[in-house]
Symmetry: C2
Subunit: 107 residues, 2 copies
DNA sequence: CAGCATCCAGAACGATACTG
DNA sequence: CAGTATCGTTCTGGATGCTG
């Protein structure tokens, strides 16, 4: 892969994650929450399909953006950001600022 | 829509654009080029489907991120970023930096 | 509570060929 | 050069119901 004519690929890792339908929104919740649970996300998103949520969470865990923590009885578990995930937050916030600036009442 | 429980929607505008498969890469070329042509993009991307490229360009134009400029004879035309589009570049660069930091030799 | 399984509608994208 | 037309495939994600 020649970097001269094809300097892409660099963006790939970020777009792979942020390009999925729910992921940016999901990640957004970590800005204020730090630790989030499955059912919380279902709730916050207004009823995301558990299948979708599960797959997003799995992908995020596999790419090392979040970490799953089994906590307590009754299948209670929590998700929190890793350092890698934390570094994503400023980008999310910039995206949000941009959206807000150019599409304030975005339908 | 209640902003308390559903503070989303803000990210939407950005993710709608950056979520498409080629768009971030396409935009990336504007960092160095300023003015880009259809065939250049086809070339730079390594042969993106013209149908796809066309639809991306149309979408970008409709959201006011790029501007199409008919220039010269022979269907020659060019695309350049608007102010709105320019404001997207830092985000792209951050995404690139992030990708580079956490997935250097990203396959 | 935290998922997984199955089924399915529709969007996204590539290949290829053709036009103003 | 800058697209459009057509076709087909693949991938995504929603609905719904079940399980550890």
């Amino acid at each position: 892969m020649d970097t001269a004519t094809k300097p892409i690929g660099c963006l790939q890792a970020a777009t792979d994650i942020l390009g999925d339908k729910w992921t940016p929104h999901l990640l957004r919740y970590f800005i204020n929450e730090e630790i989030v649970r499955f059912c919380q996300l279902q709730d916050l998103t207004g009823g995301i399909n558990p299948r979708t949520l599960s797959s997003r969470l799995t992908a995020l865990e596999e790419t090392g953006i979040i970490k799953k923590i089994i906590s307590g009885p009754g299948s209670r578990c929590e998700y929190k950001l890793t350092a890698k995930g934390h570094d994503l937050l400023p980008i999310l916030q910039d995206m949000e600022a941009w959206s807000d600036k150019y599409a304030p009442s975005n339908a």
